[in-house]
């Protein structure tokens, strides 16, 4: 493998990692702060993609579709939290898994009823639909560079939100000691709704960014969800920093695994990474709960 190809695959790994980070950030927040295992996170990813595709058809603009679909998925997430998940916080994880698995089935059939069984299309803006020459002999799809940019930007924004704002302080406090936050008079119900909405919006954003690359179809969230869970486990539950580092790590390992290893082994490479990480650091790279 020559240097150009190596760099190219590095960029591919980074881009995959950044997409995974958008998914995993919401998941790790919800898991860490609310102690809720949310299997329906992938459904919110799918909802984000479908909403953006429809909005793009209505408005004719990719940017407007994203700007409108993010608050829309935030709202969907908040409604889901208020209507169903609120009743599950005191239950054990198995009940949560069961209920949120039910949500996956619900959203899949909902999408099929509203949008039909055929996959939807989301066009790229003309300026981003081609590949750019980074330097002689190396072309890279322009849109994937945008994804890397958006992912890094959102990562920075989240880092600031978590570490330099009052909301972030509450989220961090909630992740470390739920009862104490409640005892100090913080309205934990509202905090939970906000955190879940935020997680939903992040998942939705990941879905929207994936829309032009991938097929927007029923069940598109499930394969990504599994990778996102692996990222959360490796990064440490509840840690945004951990999710970022782990997502990029998983993106790179998956990409180079697929390129360098035979087919049978490469599909295991991420699981081997996770198993190794669990032996070395059972709580993940940057655990939020001390």
């Amino acid at each position: 493998m020559d240097a150009t190809l190596l760099l190219m695959q590095g960029l591919n790994g980074l881009q995959l990692g950044v997409m995974l980070f958008l998914m995993a950030a919401g998941l790790t927040l919800v898991f860490g702060v609310m102690n809720l295992i949310n299997l329906s996170h992938g459904s919110l990813y799918m909802m984000g993609a479908y909403l953006a595709a429809s909005l793009q058809q209505q408005t004719g603009s990719f940017l407007w579709a994203i700007l409108l679909a993010v608050p829309a998925t935030l709202a969907v997430g908040m409604v889901v939290e208020v209507v169903t998940l609120r009743k599950l916080y005191d239950r054990d994880h198995l009940d949560q898994v069961l209920a949120t698995y039910g949500l996956i089935l619900f959203f899949n059939e909902l999408v099929r009823m509203v949008w039909g069984p055929q996959a939807r299309f989301m066009a790229l803006p003309e300026a981003l639909s081609h590949s750019v020459v980074l330097f002689p002999g190396m072309r890279y799809p322009a849109y994937r560079l945008v994804i890397i940019g958006v992912g890094l930007g959102v990562g920075g924004l989240l880092f600031w939100l978590i570490h330099h704002t009052r909301l972030g302080m509450l989220i961090r406090a909630g992740a470390s000691n739920r009862e104490m936050v409640n005892a100090l008079g913080v309205n934990i119900k509202v905090l939970y709704t906000v955190v879940f909405g935020l997680g939903a919006a992040l998942a939705g954003l990941a879905g929207m960014m994936a829309g032009p690359i991938l097929s927007i179809e029923v069940g598109m969230g499930e394969p990504v969800l599994i990778l996102a869970f692996i990222v959360v486990v490796i990064g440490g539950i509840g840690s945004i920093k951990g999710a970022f580092v782990a997502a990029v790590l998983v993106g790179l390992v998956d990409t180079f695994g697929r390129v360098l290893l035979p087919a049978g082994v490469s599909s295991m490479s991420i699981c081997i990474l996770m198993a190794g990480m669990l032996c070395w650091r059972p709580k993940g790279l940057f655990p939020a709960h001390g």
Partner: protein
């Protein structure tokens, strides 16, 4: 114990004697088993829509009998398919079963259904074992044998003189069958044969490797959503202008083209059918399908339509007497109906002998992406397994 046994025998004898009247049935019950939920649902829906249109064109009857269609969802799981089939056979007492989108479901249900003396008309899946040594007298496949379509593209590229080819497919049975079928007729150099994980969403890494290998052309098989991902990413990487991409109708069928957009424009694929195939039956089918469902039919819808016409022809030939199994089988074997693909006949293994075409994705006058025939790859093409089938 003995007495109950005798009792059952008596009841069975009575049921048999009264249940085998030598006159025509007053209705025909058809079980439709397909994947109707989840990501694979669009194929099952398309076949059913085509099947229903076929019934409508036969005067809302099949072979002169009023039709009741019972729809069952196999959820793309063989064991669920068997459950649904058993329920249809025992509770609903269906006269025939059709549908069956995926080969793994087909392999599980084919014997349980046909062992009961019930005819199974496959409207899609055509796995090689059932075309070869394990062929079944009561199974008729109205679509194709899995390998055939890929063989057509292999022949086309062989004739075109393409030398160095790069192969890509998902790592599962149908992907492997596709590549094997392709290699039956393509004899040039295979630069690499890459199998990706099934339902893998992103192909950036594989596409970078592909570009570095500098092949003359690429042949791929990515049905459904995987194809949408692959084709879009292939175009976005700028590869479409650099290395020609060839595939089969399953990657570029009507149900996925709109979701691919211009990324699919101009791509070549092999198929036994195309919406522009020039015969009166097909013209009527395409026009009426569009009027009824508001979209162009896919090849899957065409298969569903032909399944209805085949059943109609068989039932008509035996005068609606569904218990005349041997006569019905002979009638099916004749395939005495006007197919949307033009001429059509069954081989000894009850799989089709048919022509294959090379199509290109174009925009029609309304700006909708669709396929157009540009060449013919095979005339009267039989599958590679018919010799292994003991049926004559």
């Amino acid at each position: 114990m003995k007495r109950t046994g005798l009792g059952i025998l008596a009841v069975a004898a009575w049921v048999l004697s009264s249940g085998l009247p030598c006159h025509a049935a007053d209705a025909i019950k058809i079980g439709y088993i397909a994947t109707m939920s989840g990501p694979g649902a669009s194929l099952g829906t398309d076949i059913l829509d085509g099947f229903k249109l076929g019934i409508k064109h036969c005067g809302d009857k099949l072979g002169g009998l009023p039709v009741e269609v019972i729809v069952g969802d196999d959820q793309l799981k063989p064991e669920i398919g068997v459950q649904v089939a058993t329920r249809m056979l025992e509770k609903d007492k269906v006269d025939m079963v059709t549908g069956i989108v995926f080969s793994n479901v087909m392999m599980a249900v084919a014997k349980p259904i046909t062992d009961q003396g019930v005819f199974l008309i496959s409207a899609n899946a055509g796995p090689s074992p059932l075309a070869g040594a394990q062929c079944l007298p009561n199974l008729f496949t109205v679509s194709w044998q899995n390998d055939q379509t890929h063989e057509a593209m292999g022949k086309y590229l062989q004739d075109k003189g393409v030398k160095r080819l790069y192969l890509m497919a998902p790592d599962y049975q149908a992907g492997k069958d596709a590549m094997a079928g392709f290699k039956h007729s393509f004899k040039g150099e295979i630069v690499a044969e890459v199998f990706t994980k099934i339902n893998q969403p992103d192909y950036a890494a594989e596409l970078a490797q592909l570009r570095a290998a500098k092949p003359d052309a690429v042949f791929c098989f990515y049905p459904g959503g995987m194809g949408i991902n692959f084709i879009k990413q292939y175009a976005q990487a700028g590869l479409k202008e650099e290395i020609p991409l060839y595939t089969t109708a399953f990657t570029l069928d009507q149900s996925v083209l709109q979701a691919m957009g211009d990324a699919a424009l101009g791509l070549m694929n092999a198929s036994f059918w195309s919406p522009d195939l020039d015969n009166p039956v097909n013209k009527k089918f395409v026009a009426d399908f569009k009027a009824a469902y508001g979209r162009l039919p896919s090849l899957f819808a065409a298969q569903g339509y032909d399944a209805a016409l085949l059943i109609d022809s068989g039932v008509r030939a035996v005068g609606g007497n569904l218990n005349e199994k041997d006569k019905l089988r002979d009638a099916f074997k004749k395939a005495d109906f006007q197919s949307v693909r033009g001429k059509f006949k069954f081989n000894n293994n009850h799989f089709p002998i048919q022509d294959f075409y090379i199509r290109q994705v174009v925009k029609n006058e309304e700006g909708v992406l669709t396929n157009k025939i540009v060449a013919k790859a095979f005339t009267d093409h039989a599958d590679a397994y018919c010799d292994q089938c003991p049926m004559k």
